[in-house]
């Protein structure tokens, strides 16, 4: 069931996208946005897997249907083919994590999820791990204050990017 008209969603995204693009540009990241599909793609780079290796390449995708009635859908895809490949597309959170627990969990129907209140896939109603957060429409009122918060597209990208910067390799080897 559609919660918001496409025009409304496009207006919300259009309002937030310039700041998200400015954030990406400051980092030399090539944020691309498919206006027709309302889909965002952002290459990100994690620490090298070895001293002589290249930085680990990741690719974040977001879609925005019904945004901001519900949060976006964020997931990682193959950095080259952009295929959905599950955990191999995801960075592994460091252990121990510098802030208690990371955003990247081996969970959910694809085997990996960005576990934050600003990702639709983290909620149980979308087969994510969080039944305790209630409905996705509650995303701006959850979770408790000690968890990470991000309420605009730019803030979400910055928070995910920080986690990638601090990652320890991939969850699984690329296929």
């Amino acid at each position: 069931m559609m919660l918001l008209s496409e025009d409304t969603v496009r207006a919300y995204v259009a309002e937030e996208l310039p700041a998200a693009k400015a954030w990406a540009q400051r980092r030399g990241r090539q944020l691309s946005f498919d206006e027709e599909a309302l889909s965002l793609t952002l290459p990100l780079y994690g620490p090298r897997a070895s001293d002589n290796g290249d930085p680990e390449a990741y690719c974040l995708r977001g879609t925005f249907d019904d945004y901001r009635a519900v949060p976006p859908t964020w997931w990682f895809i193959h950095p080259d083919s952009e295929a959905d490949i599950g955990p191999a597309a995801y960075p592994a959170s460091p252990s121990p994590h510098p802030r208690g627990s990371g955003l990247f969990l081996a969970s959910g129907p694809t085997g990996a999820v960005i576990c934050a209140h600003f990702n639709r896939l983290a909620y149980a109603e979308e087969q994510g791990p969080h039944g305790d957060w209630g409905a996705t429409t509650n995303w701006l009122n959850t979770p408790p204050s000690n968890y990470t918060r991000a309420e605009t597209i730019g803030d979400m990208l910055a928070r995910i990017s920080l986690e990638v910067d601090e990652s320890q390799g991939r969850m699984a080897p690329l296929p």
Binding site: P18, R27, L105, S145, N146, T148, R149, R159, E163
Partner: protein, 98 residues
């Protein structure tokens, strides 16, 4: 402590900055323009980040400042976190995941 947009700062640079202060530009991911802040260098990163977050309109979260894509320790003083005059810093939330 004070803040102004970067555009303002270029026109009105200076004024009120003491020897113990650092003047930095902070960018927040929800706006396109940076803002200039002048802080005592012994202020903690967390306190400075909270002031910047409030100025940018953030109501909740656990903000810190990041320099060169590295999140700074909220408990350190700015000087101990190697924040220098003229630095460009980013505001980012560092609350934990679940």
């Amino acid at each position: 402590m004070s803040s102004e947009t970067k555009a303002d700062a270029q026109d009105e640079h200076g004024g009120g900055k003491g020897k113990q202060d650092v003047e930095v530009t902070v960018f927040a991911p929800r706006v396109t323009e940076g803002r200039v802040f002048t802080w005592d260098k012994h202020l903690t990163v967390g306190a400075a980040a909270q002031e910047a977050a409030t100025a940018f309109g953030y109501a909740a979260g656990t903000p810190t400042l990041a320099k060169d894509d590295v999140a700074l320790d909220r408990d350190k003083q700015l000087v101990a976190a190697h924040v220098r005059d003229g630095d460009e810093l980013d505001l980012v939330d560092t609350g934990g995941g679940v």
